[in-house]
């Protein structure tokens, strides 16, 4: 397995008495679009900031392109090949669109003028307009333009489509997809919009209370997670302890026993058959349900 583009090992971050990250371990491989899902306050933004050298971890390791993200010199080198779009779309409000472009382009020798023209058009940005007067959609468009035109190997985005109408959202997603279409480009983005993650991501990492809970290819999650419903003639038996692996949660409601499985549905079904259910339903589980389950919300 080639070296991951992003890797954290037992990453911890404490501010005062708040433990934002409590031993986060994750990897992101090159050439993938990886969605980073987590509730508010789960530690997503903290993780991204540590990767970019804006914060230093309390303990543990964070690496980008194999280099330590908490080393100041290495971090400057990392940022030569990374584009970051923060949650509030950080930009210099006092500059105009063209000044922002010139400022950013000055740092990236491989600047793509063709993409610049393309995205100025797509997002409807006029060069002479001051950044502080841009609407939310245009501001995001500009931030995305500045990120993509750098020709960076890695894009890191924090909630890129938050607050955007569906049309602009789709344009942003399309821009991200076209970036990865050339090999060796990677996108790592955090989001609350599960549908978008399902649409463009091929891998997903879920974080809850400072730790990684699920890390898998999206297709694997779709093929492995199942909700199995056993209906009995009389009251369902007391919750059995399954020997088969993959049982995430078992619940009982009158004559129905429901098992949430993260894999091995067939073996679980076989193990439960002797209990004599009247019917067995095996149903796919949506990413949203997997997410809610992994962040401890009653599904």
């Amino acid at each position: 397995m080639p070296e991951p583009i992003i890797e954290t090992v037992a990453l911890r971050k404490t501010y005062g008495d708040v433990e934002a990250l409590r031993g986060l371990t994750l990897q992101v491989q090159a050439g993938s679009i990886c969605g980073f899902l987590g509730r508010n306050g789960a530690g997503k933004t903290t993780t991204l900031k540590i990767l970019l050298g804006m914060m230093r971890p309390t303990s543990g390791e964070a690496r980008v392109f194999g280099r330590r993200a908490d080393d100041s010199t290495a971090s400057v080198e990392i940022r030569r090949d990374v584009a970051f779009v923060g949650e509030d779309k950080p930009l210099f409000d006092y500059m105009t669109v063209s000044e922002m472009v010139r400022f950013t382009a000055a740092f990236y020798p491989r600047w793509r003028r063709d993409l610049e023209r393309h995205y100025l058009g797509i997002f409807g940005l006029s060069p002479a307009v001051k950044v502080k007067t841009l609407s939310r959609g245009m501001r995001t468009g500009l931030a995305v333009l500045l990120a993509l035109c750098r020709d960076a190997r890695l894009l890191i985005l924090d909630e890129p489509t938050s607050g955007l109408d569906p049309a602009v959202s789709e344009q942003v997603l399309q821009a991200l997809v076209s970036h990865v279409a050339s090999a060796e480009m990677t996108v790592f983005f955090s989001s609350h919009h599960i549908a978008e993650v399902e649409q463009i991501a091929d891998r997903v990492v879920m974080i809850d209370r400072g730790r990684a809970t699920v890390a898998a290819a999206l297709d694997d999650l779709r093929e492995q997670y199942r909700r199995i419903r056993f209906v009995f003639d009389d009251d369902a038996p007391a919750v059995p302890v399954f020997r088969a692996e993959g049982v995430e949660r078992v619940s009982r409601d009158g004559r129905v026993l429901t098992v949430l499985a993260s894999g091995g549905a067939e073996r679980i079904v076989e193990e439960a058959r002797p209990l004599g259910p009247v019917s067995i339903d095996v149903i796919p589980v949506s990413l949203k349900e997997i997410f809610l389950e992994s962040s401890g919300v009653e599904g």
């Binding site: 297709d219 079904v269 067995i280 339903d281 796919p284």
Partner: protein
């Protein structure tokens, strides 16, 4: 053919690459795609449908594995001139007859459309992956 690809449904529970595979096979069956015709490139199709290019690549690889299409290095993806896709069509027609008969029998037992659909979905969802032995 480019513009007649439908946007896959990411939340349907069916992996997107499988939905694409289905679309290509269906297009071949209905004649929208003919033997020897070129499919859209991976990157343009991913951009048009706003899905991950890896997903398109996976679908194309699977289709090539099944012999439905050919991936010609540097030139693109083309529908196979092979016999095999036509065999698939025959199998599909036979399958359609089986399904029609089964649905009729279930209706005769008093089951409604939704119930019949649920039975099929549950059966498919519970089935082991292709190549594994059924439990």
């Amino acid at each position: 053919m480019d513009t007649s690809f439908l946007r896959p449904n990411p939340s349907s529970g069916v992996p997107i690459y499988l939905q694409l595979i289905e679309q290509v096979k269906h297009a071949i069956e209905t004649g929208a795609l003919r033997a020897g015709e070129q499919l859209p490139g991976i990157r343009p199709l991913a951009e048009r449908l706003v899905i991950n290019p890896n997903t398109v690549a996976k679908a194309y690889r699977e289709l090539e594995h099944e012999g439905v299409i050919e991936l010609r290095h540097g030139a693109g993806a083309f529908v196979s001139a092979d016999r095999r896709p036509r065999q698939l069509t025959n199998t599909m027609r036979a399958g359609q007859a089986i399904v029609a008969a089964t649905v009729e029998r279930l209706r005769a037992r008093g089951l409604g459309e939704d119930e019949i659909r649920r039975l099929f979905e549950a059966q498919l969802a519970g089935l082991p992956r292709k190549g594994e032995r059924s439990a």
